[in-house]
């Protein structure tokens, strides 16, 4: 891999309180250009905190985040440095990430303007609508006129119009109907690769992740417990947490098999550190 587009080193996110909650515990990761990395784990494991810290909208307790050659500062009151618009985020719920009172074309135009401001080439918002499979007439319409899946595609078009080097997507498909989840995820992968951007794709849905991610990071209680080549992890998980997570997914084959339920003794082993489970490579 050439120089990574995004890297974090010993990133820690903590929330005040008694006791202090360490949501992200010394996470180091690297994502290259044209690489899709998935971050999976269950609710409360720190996935979103990590994503937000990476993009700079969450305070870091310690550690660093670098985008290209730049150190990512924590977002303050002022506008973020122009160069950092090369990092874009797609949120879970397009109903709240899109402005309901502005036309779709204008909102995608925001992305285009961000690209121009960085000296990148401009583009026509309608072109992005076509790329995500929407009619160009959508540009003159408002978000409420679209279904959830269509709205999320508009949000994706907006972030890609900024010609990002890195896309951070926090559960971008979980608010969508099941029939569009895999296709929207696969579309995101295609568009990122086309643009030569890297993507950090956060999801709790492992079966979708398997279809689109080059590498996968499995997170439990703020720590990465297993990481590496997606298919290797899927076929042969080493960490007990990854094993339990994969075994608990119901397989839609109609066989009526109940997924495996981890018991309390199993759960105790999930916090273990297993060095062999990290940085796994393709067989």
């Amino acid at each position: 891999m050439t120089a990574p587009v995004l890297s974090t080193s010993d990133l820690v996110v903590e929330y005040r309180g008694r006791p202090v909650v360490r949501a992200v515990d010394r996470v180091s990761l690297e994502i290259g250009a044209g690489e899709v990395v998935a971050l999976v784990g269950e609710s409360g494991c720190g996935k979103s905190s990590l994503a937000r810290a990476v993009i700079g909208i969450e305070k870091r307790a310690s550690g660093s985040v670098t985008f290209g050659a730049l150190d990512v500062p924590v977002l303050g009151i002022r506008r973020r440095p122009r160069a950092l618009t090369g990092m874009q985020m797609v949120f879970q719920d397009p109903n709240s990430s899109l402005n309901p009172r502005r036309r779709v074309g204008d909102q995608i135009g925001d992305g285009v303007r961000a690209a121009l401001a960085r000296g990148e080439s401009g583009s026509d918002p309608r072109e992005w609508l076509e790329r995500v499979g929407l009619d160009t007439s959508a540009a003159a319409r408002y978000p409420h006129e679209f279904s959830g899946g269509q709205k999320q595609r508009i949000a994706i078009a907006r972030s890609l119009a900024a010609r990002p080097g890195m896309l951070v997507a926090d559960e971008p498909i979980s608010a969508l109907d099941a029939s569009t989840q895999t296709s929207v995820a696969a579309l995101m992968r295609d568009l990122c690769l086309e643009a030569g951007a890297g993507m950090l794709f956060i999801s709790h849905d492992l079966s979708v992740v398997r279809r689109i991610a080059d590498r996968t990071l499995v997170m439990y209680r703020g720590r990465i417990v297993e990481s590496g080549h997606t298919e290797t992890i899927w076929q042969d998980p080493i960490h007990p947490y990854t094993e339990a997570l994969l075994a608990a997914i119901p397989v839609p084959d109609g066989a009526g098999r109940l997924p495996d339920t981890p018991d309390d003794a199993d759960r105790l082993t999930w916090t273990e550190t297993i060095p062999e489970a990290l940085e796994r490579t393709a067989p």
Binding site: G133, S147, D177, G256
Partner: protein, 291 residues
């Protein structure tokens, strides 16, 4: 033997422009001691169908058709039944488990009272008679330390334990039918596995019948015996589980399975993206915005 029969159910929403159909003539038969899955995407009418069974439709909706609950004494019509009839059935013969146990359980009432309230009301049990039953229920749903749990409040339990307690509350009066609306959707996948196992055990041991409403076909495949697929208020397909997953008849069911990783009909990501882009949709009225 069928316990719950829905026939030609129509539900419509009153709007200024006239009635708008939400459920458009569905039929469904829930057999005794079985788990019947009701699948569909958001806005397909599956939850509204479940609510209609207990007469819980909002005032803005009207229903017609028939929903009958069978018993030894004959069948009871639930649709349009007077309040006292429904009152005697809700929580007693037909109970409901909702998606989110942190809202379906009362946050300020101890678990013990939430469990015994129904029994005291419906079964006229005295406090001291209801308590052992409550303990037994907590054991059945595998909540650790049932004695201690009775005195605790919902926030002192994890999400999975809370859903187990909500199931125990629903089972308090030994109902014939359990309506479970997305009972595992709010839970983590490792916790979901435990709840599915519990549902299966309850059905196999006690003969309760479950109408399981969920959008998750993986969950259907794990526990449902029969599956009915709904779309835009109509039933597109209803079949035994294995047949539905291996030999779906309707195009819509096939398209759902094609988009589902791990199913027999799974399409490649390339095909899915191609199909997504091949149908350039202009603005369509949003499905999710329906009330």
């Amino acid at each position: 033997m069928s316990i719950l029969t829905i026939s030609d159910l129509h539900i419509s929403l009153r709007t200024p422009d006239g009635p708008r159909p939400i459920v458009d003539g569905i039929d469904l038969v829930l057999e005794k001691g079985r788990i019947h899955g009701l699948a569909g995407e958001s806005g397909s009418g599956k939850t509204i169908t479940a609510l209609a069974i207990l007469g819980l439709l909002p005032d803005s909706m009207t229903a017609s058709g028939s929903i009958t609950l069978a018993s030894d004494a004959g069948a009871t019509e639930l649709l349009g039944a007077p309040r006292h009839v429904l009152g005697a059935i809700r929580g007693r013969r037909v109970a409901m488990v909702f998606q989110d146990p942190s809202t379906s359980l009362h946050p300020q009432i101890a678990i013990g009272r939430q469990l015994t309230d129904h029994m005291r009301h419906h079964l006229k049990l005295r406090k001291d008679a209801a308590r052992p039953r409550a303990l037994e229920l907590l054991e059945r749903v595998k909540v650790p330390d049932p004695e201690g749990a009775l005195k605790k409040f919902p926030h002192q339990f994890s999400g999975g334990q809370r859903q187990r307690i909500a199931i125990a509350v629903a089972l308090a009066c030994d109902p014939d039918v359990l309506l479970a609306d997305e009972p595992t959707t709010a839970l983590d996948v490792t916790v979901q596995a435990g709840i599915l196992e519990l549902l299966r055990e309850l059905v196999d041991d006690s003969g309760v019948s479950v109408l399981l409403v969920t959008h998750d076909l993986g969950v259907m495949s794990a526990v449902a015996d029969e599956v009915t697929v709904m779309r835009s208020g109509v039933v597109v397909e209803s079949a035994p589980r294995e047949q539905l997953f291996t030999h779906p008849q309707h195009e819509y069911t096939k398209s759902l399975l094609a988009a589902l990783p791990g199913s027999a009909l799974e399409a490649s990501p390339e095909t899915l993206v191609h199909d997504l882009l091949a149908a350039p949709a202009a603005a369509a009225p949003s499905q999710e915005d329906s009330p």
